[in-house]
Symmetry: D2
Subunit: 131 residues, 4 copies
Amino acid sequence: MKIHEIKTRVRYQETDQMGIVYYGNFFTYFEMGRTEYLRSLGLPYLELEREHIYFPVTETHCRFRSPAHYDDVLVVQTWVSELKHASVEFSHKVIREGSNTLIAEGFSKLACLNAGRKPASMPEKLKKLLE
Amino acid sequence: MKIHEIKTRVRYQETDQMGIVYYGNFFTYFEMGRTEYLRSLGLPYLELEREHIYFPVTETHCRFRSPAHYDDVLVVQTWVSELKHASVEFSHKVIREGSNTLIAEGFSKLACLNAGRKPASMPEKLKKLLE
Amino acid sequence: MKIHEIKTRVRYQETDQMGIVYYGNFFTYFEMGRTEYLRSLGLPYLELEREHIYFPVTETHCRFRSPAHYDDVLVVQTWVSELKHASVEFSHKVIREGSNTLIAEGFSKLACLNAGRKPASMPEKLKKLLE
Amino acid sequence: MKIHEIKTRVRYQETDQMGIVYYGNFFTYFEMGRTEYLRSLGLPYLELEREHIYFPVTETHCRFRSPAHYDDVLVVQTWVSELKHASVEFSHKVIREGSNTLIAEGFSKLACLNAGRKPASMPEKLKKLLE
């Protein structure tokens, strides 16, 4: 199982008045993790959409273990936790760089849709890369 | 079990290039549902924070059943699905007004923290209102 | 000159760790003001896009006079401050309900684009409504 | 005049249904530019806030010259365009990496506030660094 890592620094915009990263912003970090995971396989998501293949999220979950703060550098780990004919699940851990504190962990399931936005089998080349 | 409803209209800002509401924005709708649920009980969340009681989200989950689009009016239903000494879980359904289409459903668990941001029992008046 | 008003309540998501609304979020309030202004004229922006007419923002400006806080109800005033063949400028004031405090004021210029995303004259029916 | 550059890749979350970066998100890019500008001077904004010095934005402006798209790498240039006793203005250009296309240009003025959130002179060490 391949685990891919990216780093992202918490923006002021991502904080809320509790002084921590707003919970909904972790799903953007998950998105960034998926995007760079696919790029690391040699198949940027951008190219999939250019071929009219779309991967909307159908389910997502996150546990928040420790708050993240402005200017923290977060490490987002991403891996494929389930692969089906027409869907894929990515799992994530978010860790604070340096301290190794677990900040959050979760997953997102994505369905494969075709140009008409109907469920479709995943392209073979993508499936092979994800396996 | 009390179910509280609010309406919110999808902003252009909330859409993404797939032409639908970005998945992470549903957690903002959940927040709005919680906020108005508490206000409807007579205890705005604003007042809780003024008394240095905080409710960060510790876990959240969402299933996306059907896409929401720009300018849709969404009905966000909110209810208390679990109540403990020091935490509460709110559950939600998001429905498109008019069509009655189920757009999304999920929950958020929140922990009660005191002024020092340490776990604390929920204030009695809040617990009674939520029961 | 027609001035249109909407109200919006500040979401927790819109605050930052300074305890105020993040400055970039005012441009979402401006967008909501424009959207409801057009709806009040009988021509929702949604319908313009369905006819493949797009109005991207080409310039925007905002002065922040007083901070807005979580749970504030903001009144967003919108009016047309300049109308040209292929562009329109909307101006805005954001006021806190009740106190009448001026929170922010600014404008956005929008260009009219056709299906090929090229500059185009505004549809006559829209121009007449905006005059 | 020192010009500082950062790079940021456009997130899916930052796009809207027009298929471009939502205009309000450029103010987040400006914020990132300011943050990294200050860090490059050896004085992270985080440390200023730890000393209870705050820099809310009092005015901002942006011209959008060319749309930015998902997955674009944007270069955000930042420089100090005006320095006063109790305020500073940062100017920015946003350029698409590779093509050298000018995407956007603008500025943000920030006021210096003290712990009581009242206008205050800028700390001498900061003023010297910004000159």
